[in-house]
């Protein structure tokens, strides 16, 4: 039976409409498919990248990797694997593991065991294996294997091989080093203890065992504080252990002294200890080490040394005291020696110009006067030698013209030159410059040189003084020669010329007098200025040449001339009549000074104490007044320095100090108290007159 037309039409209509809907569904599905395809491509790319990354990781690992299936067939491997085994990659690819092992076995120390182990692993199929493979060439490989699972299902086995030869060597080296350290630390004389970060003992060397009374085994793991009991030597209280600081602060703690280690049996020994942190390569503190040693013997020696030192210091103090006493004695001696000379010299000076004295007596008086002066000079020389030898020669550097100083020296010696009819040649043109020097001392040198030449030059001889300036280093120096036509000397005598008390020939000393200290003093003064004095002689009868070399010095640092008194005589100078307050407790000196001053035309008010002087000054101030004070420094009821300070401040007086003490410090004290001049006893009349004149002119 055929279907009715409308039935068939209806079916066709429904089917075709369905077809349209199906087409739409198909297109939708296709779109989904395209999307899915795109997603898949993306996933594929991601997967490819992931696989490439995994492959790269697989290849970049330092381990050799072999992957096999359960039957031992190679499914994968990396390049490192073939490198480690030295096999061609093509052979490893798709081979049986046992075949590869057979090729590699010749390198293995025990190939039979090597192959048997691989077979055993495949047969017993353990989850994991670990073996060390030793090679004939000494290499050592570490081999792991583990079952490979995919979706939790075992699919094969992954074998990793690592060359640990170097780490084994390093391990061995480390072990040897540890042994070396152990032996070394066991051999050294110091005690060594190490602790971990919890400050528990990890190591002790035999010395530490002895000191602490603990064996290393018994101490291991114990708190350090229990093993090492340290107390302060002084307080007997527990002393901090430096290892605590090393651990907590991570720094080296230097030797700490004066601690005592109390050993396990209670015995004690003084120790010196230090500690340092032990750090790993990253700098992290992993423990600390303490080194200490017994300082008992040393401490005993130190105490002995301390006693010696104390004794030495005591002796030194005593010596210094003695030295000071000696200096003071010498100063006092000088003062006491000079003081009596002052009136004598004063009297002789005053008589020298007295025309009423018979000529024969006058000649005798002149002899006495010269000998008194020599006596005074000898005292001064002795003091100078003492100063130079002790390094206590004090210089007052100022700007001076050397030519002027030479002229002053010549002036001082003029009487002697004239007496021997000696010719004096002088060529100082080039040296007419300023230098930085102590004026008095350089004048003393020049005078000594001239006096020396005068002394040893026969009558009618010639003395020449020449000077030149030359560059020296950064500055200049002046070279002054004093040449005579005297008796000369042997070369061997030259060396002794400048040594105190070693004048060339005792015969000479006896013949010409003096202690022969002048050249030694002069040489010392020259050296104090940074210069020198040398001597030259062609021999006996061929004259001598003395050369004084002085650096010109730093003129900027030198003081301006202070006008201190020199030895230069003041001939022909006259001063006005002064009212002079003379303060002198030495009766003879006071009398002769009063007479001398009177002869100079001055009016003298003479007193012997500070009190009288102040009284007189007060009294005279109300009357005719006082023009000048001439005072001894050492007075019975006080110091002349205090007196001058009072007179200067109250009455505005100026003064001249008279003192047996001629040290520089003495001169400075005089100036500081208000004295304008400081004259050293015995007082030379000429010098005194000059000082009075200068004060008058200054005023």
């Amino acid at each position: 039976m055929e279907p009715k037309e409308d039935e068939e039409s209806l079916l066709r209509s429904a089917a075709m409409q369905n077809a349209s809907a199906i087409r739409a569904a198909r297109m939708s599905a296709e779109r989904d498919l395209i999307k899915a395809k795109e997603d898949l491509e993306l996933k594929t790319r991601e997967l490819a990248y992931l696989l490439a990354t995994m492959r790269a990781t697989f290849e970049s690992t330092t381990d050799g990797i072999l992957v096999t299936d359960a039957a031992g067939h190679v499914t994968d491997h990396n390049e490192k694997f073939v490198q480690l085994w030295g096999l061609p990659g093509a052979i490893v690819d798709r081979s049986q593991h046992t075949s590869i092992a057979s090729l590699a076995k010749k390198r293995i120390k025990d190939p039979r065991k090597f192959l048997a182990r691989i077979r055993e692993i495949y047969e017993s199929w353990p989850p994991e294996t670990f073996d060390l493979l030793e090679f004939e060439d000494g290499s050592v490989y570490e081999r792991h294997s583990r079952i490979q699972k995919v979706h939790k299902m075992p699919v094969g086995r992954v074998w990793t091989v690592r060359d640990i030869t170097e780490s084994k060597r390093a391990e061995r080296a480390l072990r040897e080093q540890a042994e070396w350290f152990s032996v070394t630390l066991g051999s050294i004389g110091d005690a060594v203890v190490t602790v971990n970060t919890e400050c528990r003992v990890t190591y002790m060397n035999p010395v530490a065992e002895t000191y602490t009374g603990w064996s290393a085994a018994a101490a291991a793991g114990k708190p350090l504080a229990e093993v090492m009991v340290i107390v302060s030597e002084a307080t007997r209280q527990a002393a901090p252990n430096p290892i605590d600081i090393a651990l907590s602060e991570g720094r080296i703690v230097e030797l700490a002294n004066h601690t005592t280690l109390v050993s396990r049996d209670g015995s004690e020994r003084p120790i010196e200890d230090s500690a340092a942190p032990i750090k790993d390569p990253s700098g992290k503190t992993i423990g600390a080490v303490m080194v200490f040693h017994d300082v008992g013997e040393r401490r005993t020696k130190e105490r002995a040394l301390a006693r010696l030192y104390e004794a030495e210091q005591h002796a030194r103090g005593a010596a210094e005291l003695a030295n000071k006493a000696k200096d003071d004695f010498l100063a006092a001696l000088s003062h006491e020696l000079r003081t009596p000379l002052t009136p004598a010299l004063g009297i002789l000076s005053s008589l020298s110009g007295d025309g009423s004295i018979p000529e024969a007596l006058a000649a005798d008086l002149e002899i006495v006067r010269r000998n008194v002066e020599v006596e005074a000079r000898l005292i001064d020389d002795l003091l100078d030698v003492t100063r130079i030898r002790s390094g206590k020669l004090e210089l007052h550097i100022e700007r001076v013209r050397l030519a002027a100083l030479v002229d002053e020296a010549i002036g001082i010696c003029q009487v002697d030159l004239d007496a021997k009819h000696l010719s004096m040649e002088r060529d100082l043109g080039a040296a007419d410059i300023e230098i930085a020097a102590d004026r008095l001392r350089i004048t003393q040198v020049l005078w000594n040189l001239l006096k020396n030449s005068i002394k040893f030059t026969p009558e009618r001889g010639t003395i020449s003084v020449r000077a030149l300036v030359e560059s020296h280093g950064d500055g200049k120096r002046i070279i002054l020669e004093v040449q005579d036509t005297g008796m000369g000397m042997e070369p061997g005598d030259v060396e002794r010329l400048f040594k105190a008390f070693e004048q060339g020939d005792r015969h000479v000393t006896r013949q010409f007098g003096g202690l022969g200290l002048g050249l030694a003093i002069s040489s010392g003064i020259a050296e104090s200025h940074g210069g020198s004095i040398t001597a030259f002689s062609g021999g006996r009868g061929k004259g001598s040449t003395f050369t004084l070399t002085l650096p010109c010095g730093d003129l900027r640092a030198a003081a301006a001339p202070d006008g201190r008194a020199t030895y230069a005589p003041a001939r022909g100078e006259r001063t006005r009549r002064l009212r002079i307050l003379l303060v002198e407790d030495h009766a003879d000196t006071a009398n002769i000074l009063a007479r001398l001053l009177g002869r100079m035309g001055h009016e003298v008010i003479s007193v012997s104490t500070v009190a009288d002087a102040l009284h007189a000054a007060g009294k005279e101030a109300a009357g005719a007044g006082i023009d000048m004070v001439i005072s001894d420094v050492g007075l019975p009821d006080g110091s002349g320095l205090d007196l001058m300070r009072e007179l200067s401040s109250v009455h505005g007086l100026r003064g001249i100090a008279l003192s047996g003490f001629g040290r520089d410090s003495d001169v400075e004290k005089s100036h500081a108290s208000g004295f304008s001049r400081h004259l050293t006893k015995p007082i030379n009349v000429v010098v005194l007159r000059r000082a009075i004149l200068e004060l008058t002119l200054d005023k």
């Binding site: 066709r12 077809a19 809907a21 087409r23």
Partner: protein, 353 residues
């Protein structure tokens, strides 16, 4: 060597069941014991045939191979389109009256019942989405678009197939008897193409491995020893049929007038990944083929189909409609037995070469 051989599915119901079905609706729970007995008996007799793959004979498919899944749905009516058979009778398809479209039952329930009685591989036949698509009426369903219906249809079909696969069906056979009918209705081929598209949309939801366990059965329709589209040339169907993304094809061949011509068409369009089961038993022929006949048909087919892709089957089910009594169970099993034996003979002959 062995040549795979499988039945299509249906076996005439037992007389007791047929009698009961005439008296009541097939979904009546009172029929369950009869269904169970019929299944047990069917499987027992299947095993006796030594068939390597069996079915439950579709004893519980009511009322037929196609509507079993929607029978009893409240949103259907029996006034769907009509299937005319050459013998003169018709079968009417149900019509959807409201959305959404859902199955009343899934074929995996039949599979589970069969698996209780046998450890043999059991295949399960399901109706194609394209056949059920004809339930949507030409004038539409108010509030439920055709597109929504197609989508629901695909989901339901997917669910049914997936359930069967998951329960261990040896194979899930999609009955696509409307293929030739589609050509008959629309000679332009557009309708067939849309059926192919629809079924491919369903197949695309499965993996390649799953699709290897899914087959497509095509035949000219068989009911009461008659067909509805045997007059449609296979040449118009097979090229498109092999576009379906299934792994297995069950093609009625024994009843064809010119089998060689059909075999040549199959050879031309089948793909290397296809397993082609050719019909070696004509289910509408009441005569029982001898094993030798079957052997010869297999050998004939082997000349056109590579041996590793060749399998044998029956042209169609023996009773796609539950009330079909044109063939007895004995005849059906005898014919199956002949197929088994004939296929073995052919394998021996071909293997002996």
């Amino acid at each position: 060597m062995t040549i795979p051989t499988e039945p299509i599915g249906s076996i005439p119901r037992t007389p007791a069941l047929i009698e009961a079905l005439l008296a009541t609706d097939g979904a009546d729970p009172k029929l369950d014991p009869l269904y169970d007995e019929a299944i047990r008996d069917t499987i027992e007799r299947f095993e006796e045939t030594e068939s390597p793959v069996i079915t439950d004979g579709e004893q519980r498919k009511y009322h037929n191979f196609g509507t079993y899944c929607v029978h009893g749905l409240e949103n259907t009516s029996p006034e769907g389109f009509m299937l005319p058979f050459v013998a003169g009778h018709t079968r009417r398809w149900p019509r959807l009256t409201a959305g959404p479209f859902r199955y009343k039952r899934y074929a995996d329930s039949f599979l589970s019942a069969a698996q209780q009685y046998s450890r043999m591989p059991v295949k399960q036949a399901v109706i194609s989405p394209s056949a059920l698509s004809l339930m949507y009426p030409a004038n539409g369903v108010p509030g439920y678009s055709r597109e929504e219906f197609i989508n629901d249809l695909l989901n339901e079909h997917e669910k049914e197939v997936r359930l069967c696969l998951e329960k261990g069906a040896h194979c899930v056979q999609v009955d696509f008897t409307e293929g030739r009918l589609a050509v008959k209705i629309d000679p332009t081929g557009n309708l067939l193409n849309s059926f192919i598209d629809l079924n491919n949309l369903a197949l695309a939801r499965f993996s390649k491995d799953q699709r290897r366990r899914i087959g497509i059965h095509t035949c000219p329709g068989g009911d009461r020893d008659s067909t509805h589209s045997a007059d449609v040339d296979y040449a118009e169907l097979l090229p498109m049929l092999f576009e379906l993304q299934a792994g297995n094809f069950y093609i009625a061949l024994a009843g064809e007038r010119d089998r060689v011509r059909v075999l040549k068409i199959i050879r031309k369009y089948m793909k290397p990944e296809h397993q082609v089961f050719v019909g070696v038993i004509s289910t509408i022929d009441p005569r029982i083929e001898t094993p030798e006949e079957v052997r010869d048909r297999v050998i004939e087919a082997s000349k056109y189909i590579p041996m590793d892709q060749l399998g044998t089957t029956d042209d169609c089910g023996y009773a796609p409609f539950s009330d079909d009594t044109s063939t007895t169970r004995d005849t059906a099993f005898a014919k199956i037995r002949s197929r088994i034996l004939g296929t073995r003979l052919a394998a021996a002959v071909i293997g002996g070469k």
